[in-house]
Amino acid sequence: MERRKFLGLGAGILAATMIPAGLSAQNYRETKVDVWKVKNEKGKPGVDAAIKALFGTDKVEDGKVKLKAPDIAENGAVIPVTLKAEGASRLALFQDANPESLVTVFDVPKNGIPDYSLRIKLQKTGNVVAVAEIDGKLYKASKVVKVTIGGCGG
């Protein structure tokens, strides 16, 4: 993303005040309405389709992304997740356990650090997938999170 760095140097202040400029700073719920509707169906997880809808490609390599999530979540309503990827301009979180696949999209601003934590809900055991866009390429990490209802592990 050399172009971004170049623009950041000269017109940094101006770009920052003109927030919805399209380079970053967008509300994906308004600009990419369909991504949020990609479903996880029985036997047909929607993660790859959601990745394609959001990033424009489903070509993703493993690596470069660190995803932290519990192996077993006693409470499926509050699952702590951390995702980070050095050099990422965008990070997104998906899963295949809920009706729709996309959970959150982070645009990393100029001085932002791609290291985010949040708490999510999973209806049942499933895969949580973090995808990072680094220099125009996509990388991912995924983790199986077991969701128990009623407290009995496994």
């Binding site: 202040i13 920052a16 005040t17 927030i19 970053s24 700073a25 967008q26 509300n27 994906y28 719920r29 949020w36 309503a77 509050v78 699952i79 702590p80 951390t82 899963q95 809920n98 009706p99 729709e100 996309l102 959970v103 959150t104 999209v105 982070f106 645009d107 601003p109 100029k110 001085n111 932002g112 650090i113 290291d115 985010y116 934590s117 949040l118 708490r119 999510i120 809900k121 999973l122 209806q123």
Partner: protein, 97 residues
């Protein structure tokens, strides 16, 4: 919103807990209520955007968010705004320690 923001060695770590029921479509259907959840969160220091997230119904109730950003920001105000599905917005600010 409960906000904690601390800068150390040029990196500010912010922890936010927003108050919101985050009622998903499935939950709303069960309760006969309208789904409503935070859909967008933006944090700024002055005019600079330091964090931006487009979110879904799959964040936990009273969502907890943690993020980091660079800069000499001690003493400056971190301003956080969220928007929800109903169009409501809420803004809170906290001085970065």
């Amino acid at each position: 919103m409960r906000i904690k923001a601390k800068e150390k060695d040029g990196i500010t770590t912010a922890k936010v807990m927003a108050k919101h029921p985050m009622m998903s479509y499935a939950e709303a259907k069960k309760k006969g209520k309208k789904a409503n959840f935070i859909t967008y969160v933006i944090a700024k220091v002055g005019d600079e955007v330091v964090y931006e997230a487009s979110t879904s119904q799959f964040l936990s109730k009273n969502p907890y968010l943690k993020f980091k950003f660079k800069g000499e920001n001690k003493g400056k105000e971190l301003v956080i705004t969220w928007t929800d599905l109903s169009g409501k917005t809420k803004t809170d600010k906290k001085k970065i320690k």
